[in-house]
Amino acid sequence: MKHPLLKLEPLIWLLFGQGILLGTILLTPWVLVVGLGVPLGIVPAEALSYERAIALASHIVGRLILLGLIVLPLWKGVHHMRHSFIDFGGAERDALVAPLLYLLATIGSVLALVAVVRI
C-alpha cells in the first residue's frame, strides 16, 4: 500500500535503527538500576533521591541521555509493532495503522523534549 509516509521511511528507519542500537545500550543500565536495583533495595534509595536525580538530570549530558532514553525506544517500539502487525496478517490495514503508530511516537518525542527541558 503506497502511503505518503514512504517518503519519510529513511528517517523512520534511522530512528528505529538507533532505537535498537543506542536504545538497547542506554536502556540496559536504566532498567538495571531504576527499574530493578532501587525498587528491590539492591541499590540504596538515596542514589535516586530527588536532589540527586535533579542534579544528574539537569546536566546537559543528563538531559541528552534522557531524551535518547525516551525517543529512541519509542521509535524502535512503534516500528517493530508495525512489523508485527503486518506479520500477523494486517498488511491491508497498514495504511491506517502505520500513521497512527508513528503519530504516537512523534507526540511522545515532542513531549520528551518538553520534559527534559522543563526539569
Binding site: 514512504l6 529513511p10 528517517l11 523512520i12
Partner: protein, 250 residues
C-alpha cells in the same frame, strides 16, 4: 545398492488448475537409493509412477536455480538436498509465498519483474567503447561485491521472508542484493538511480531483518546483509539529497 530396498513415502502437494479447486496432497511410496537427492525421487515418481507430476529442474548441480521447493517445510534446492537426511516420510510442496501454477511449479513472473526493477546492469554516465579495453578492477574491489553476485535466482529467500509474504510490493532479498551488487561494483555509476528505486514503492525499509533469507540461501549470498546495507546507503542518499536540495535550490 538397491538390494536393501529402503523405502520412503513422499507426500507431494498437487494442484491442477484444470481439475482441482485447491491444492491437495498425494502420497507415493517408492524405493530410494542411498545416494539420491530429493530431486531424484521426484524424477523417479514422474518416470515410473505418475507422469502427471509437474516440477521444474534442469542442471541437477545446484546452479540453474529452477528446482526450489519446500521440503519438510523448508525452502530447499531439491537437487542439492541428500535424501538420507530426511525421515521415512518427506513432505514436498511448492515454494511458499508464491502463487502456484501447478503441482510444484510456482509463478515466477512476479520475481522477474522485481529483478528487472532494480536496474541490474552497469550504469555509466558515458558508455565505454570496446576499443578502450577491459576496465581495471583490483581484487579488493572485486571482493566488495563478489558475494552478492553469486545469486542463482532460486527464490528460496523469497519463500522464507515474512515481509515478502505480507507486503506484495516489497522488492525482496535477491533482487535488492542484485541491485546492491551493481551499486558496489567499482565499474558502475548508477548507485543514485538504484537508491531511488530502493526508496520507492517496494522500499528496502520494509525489510524487518528477519535474516531468514540468508538462513535458507543455498549459495551463501547473504541477501540480508545486502538488503540492510542497501538501507543505509539509501538513507544516506536521502539525507544528502535533502541537504543538497535545500542548499542548492535556486
Amino acid at each position: 545398492m538397491s538390494d536393501g530396498q529402503q523405502k520412503k513415502t513422499f507426500v507431494i502437494t498437487r494442484f491442477d488448475p484444470d481439475r482441482d479447486d485447491a491444492p491437495r496432497k498425494q502420497a507415493y511410496e517408492i524405493p530410494v537409493h542411498p545416494d539420491w537427492k530429493v530431486l531424484d525421487a521426484l524424477n523417479f515418481i514422474k518416470d515410473e509412477i505418475d507422469a502427471t507430476l509437474s516440477h521444474r529442474w534442469s542442471c541437477r548441480m545446484a546452479v540453474c536455480g529452477s528446482c526450489g521447493m519446500m521440503v519438510d517445510g523448508e525452502p530447499r534446492l531439491t537437487c542439492k538436498e541428500a535424501l538420507d537426511q530426511y525421515g521415512d516420510t518427506v513432505d514436498v510442496a511448492p515454494l511458499a509465498n508464491f502463487p502456484v501454477v501447478r503441482d510444484l511449479v510456482i509463478e515466477a513472473d512476479g520475481f522477474m519483474e522485481k529483478l528487472t526493477s532494480v536496474k541490474p546492469w552497469i550504469i555509466r554516465a558515458k558508455e565505454l567503447a570496446v576499443e578502450e579495453g577491459p576496465m581495471r578492477q583490483s581484487p579488493g574491489e572485486l571482493e566488495e561485491f563478489k558475494q552478492f553476485s553469486m545469486c542463482i535466482n532460486c527464490m528460496l529467500c523469497y519463500s522464507a521472508c515474512p515481509v515478502v509474504a505480507n507486503e506484495p510490493e516489497f522488492i525482496g532479498p535477491a533482487a535488492i542484493a542484485l541491485g546492491h551488487r551493481y551499486s558496489l561494483d567499482s565499474r558502475d555509476e548508477g548507485a543514485a538511480e538504484r537508491n531511488e528505486v530502493f526508496r520507492g514503492e517496494g522500499t528496502v525499509f520494509s525489510c524487518s531483518f528477519a535474516n531468514e533469507c540468508s538462513e535458507v540461501c543455498p549459495k551463501h549470498v547473504d541477501p540480508a546483509a545486502a538488503v540492510n546495507q542497501a538501507k543505509l546507503n539509501a538513507a544516506i542518499d536521502w539525507a544528502t539529497s535533502l541537504v543538497l536540495s535545500r542548499g542548492g535550490s535556486k
